[in-house]
Amino acid sequence: MTDTEIIELYLRRDERAIAETQKLYGRYCEKIARNILGNEQDAQECANDAYFKAWDTIPPERPKILAAYLAKITRNSAISRYRREKTEKRGHGTLPLILDELSDVVSGTANIEKTAEDREIIAEINRFLETLAEQKRRIFILRFVCCESIEDIAKRTGVSKNNVSVTLNRVKKQLKQHLNKEGYEL
């Protein structure tokens, strides 16, 4: 079943939409959640949450790219769960590391909320990402949006873990420079 057909099921309030979503994107959503939470069962629950969230939001939403839409819902759900359970001993996934890594980009003293509208920053980040080579862009997105481990990214992109680490480091520096140049002091 194609994305369009699945979205059509959602729009018609046909419950098969959930099953088809799970069938096509189940592992994908679970993986994103697992990357953040580091726990298989929480990840499954997060993915389930995402299906229901999709059920609740489509319509009125009508995502252009269903996979990306699900990714964002899952990510959001997993982050919420992570916050709720971050004192929990068992499994933290990669989120703490990723947040730590991002300190390279937002290392200034100014409050991000005061320096610019979020959407302007996002637009700038999108422009920056456009300028990157595809491989670098994938590595950046996989790490900081999909929260994948360095090892998984290395496997997925066919480069060494070292290469991934170095690439991420360089892209972060470039992003910081780019944002600073455009007047965003994060």
Binding site: Y25, Y28, K31, Q41, N48, A68, L99, N111, E113, K161
Partner: protein, 629 residues
Amino acid sequence: MKNEKFFELLESVDDKFIEEAMIDDFDGTRPVEVRAEKTRITPLKIIAPIAACLALVAAAGFAVSNFDKLTKSATPNNSTSNGETSSSAYMENSAPVVVKELADTAFVNECKELVILQLKETSSSYKTLDASDISWDVGLLDMDFDGEDEYLIYPTKGREGVFVFKKTQNEPEYIGLFGEGVEIDFNKIYKAVDGGNYYYYHYLIQEQSIVFGNGYSCEGIKLVSFEQDRICETQGIYGDVCSKYYCGKHFDNALTCYDDNNNKISPDDFKALWKQYPYLPEPTITHLGISYFDINNAMELLAKKYGISDKSKLFQNEFWRDTDINNDNITEGIIMFKDVPELPDIYVVGDNGTKYLGSLGITGKPFNQIWDGSDRYLPPAWIRQCQDENESFFYCTTTETTIVDGEEIETAWYIYKVIVNDDNTVSGEKYLNFGRDLSNGGKVFLKLGDRDISASEFIEERNKFCKDSDYKFAELDCEMMMEAGLNFGTFYKDIKEIDQELRELGSNLRRVRQRATLCSVNLDDYQVSLCAENLFYSNIDSKPIYCAEKLFIALSDKDGKVINIVDVKPQGSFFTENFNGFTPIIKENTDDMLAAGKDNTTFDLKFFTLNNAEKMSFSIENDKLVSNS
């Protein structure tokens, strides 16, 4: 936090970038590359990894069994062929060479960059280090067991740790930082390589060792050391997993030592072996099995107090001991016994074992290892110091397990509160206890102290405990309470409580029980129970929906012994039939799903889906369940 805020912002990047990045995953028919299994490990599941780990750590015991070979291997020209089986093989000429020039500057610079990146990932004190704290001009260049990969090992300047890199096509790959707190003399390192399934490197550094490799379930690094009476993993994930080579005084207070085949050897033989280990310190009282307080004193004290003439019985049944130093610098020890009916199980002693401080007054409960909910076992009694300023109490937790049909299952969970009095005496009290009483047909019990409490009281107390106990391990206890409660199933008798709890958690669909008894009916000579495995809950259009991965009916005899089980698969479903393979049950209260027939040998099972109800009929013939549907 700013980082979090920025992280959230990244969620809004253009969808096309996400699609591009995860293009491999978009075809649902293609498997996603999944990293190492992170499934919540149950105590039973962990047995295999432990076995693997034991193999690894036991192999570390080669340090004792292969003393000569090790000694020889320390001398570059003395390359004795091992002639061993693959599991204990080690390399010839295995003494690594300290080299000054390990790699070109670019390579080292890349290593430095990796170290700066990777140090952030460590939670150890090394987090504060940077590349300048590493001795880049001194290190080891070594090969792995098949000679395919080179490893570069750089010490920290304080020589209390090493950074290991793998060299691939002249590119360094960061492997890890090992040996924190270990004083490392690079001239005194031995190496051995296990060529079996769990191959690894073993660097023996004075009395401690660093092991790293890629064995199944033991991937990564284990720091092992000689600790107390055994060779133990001290930073391993399995807690007190020890090699087979050890001496101890756990039995009859005589020093007993074992070789790699678990045969007893004399202490003199053990010491002789020990001496062949050139860099080990002389075996001390600690190494040879004496704990920090004098166990003799303690046993003497307890035997006298409880009128036990045969002191050996105490030694034979001692199960666990641990020590702590209190605020007044007095060493306190905790001793646990099992299977000594006349004794309470847990004692606290002080003053090197000469002073009886109190007991927890718990009798007749065997103590077993507990699982801390993550990926390791804890010692059977894990003393958790409260962060109360006065340190006036701590908790001690354990579980009780029972072998059922050959499987070890947790049947009860105990939390004790130990109060440290002003005069440094201690007294203990039962706090929360819950589980199944196997002597009473597996009936679930919930207790606060000795008092039976309701499920709602239990949950209230649990929440209080979890909220008030703001210390490191409280979450584990809380989680275990949840887990154990779920496993035991029926203490959440009122499903509305689950509903309320889940709503508070903001969850739509989540596993609420691993195993649960949904309802039971009593027939003349039998009890019939409807049970679920992996029960999930959801709430759609204000209707609670329960989905179970598996439903089955258990038939028990008068004594509560399960004599027959049949799986049941009702027809109809809210979701498509293959929705995760779950069977839906939609009902606010499952209590009346089973109904006994008039003749008390038949019963009906009712299922409820969103749109209809379904009935299945059963009878019992010759102690077997027979479906009449």
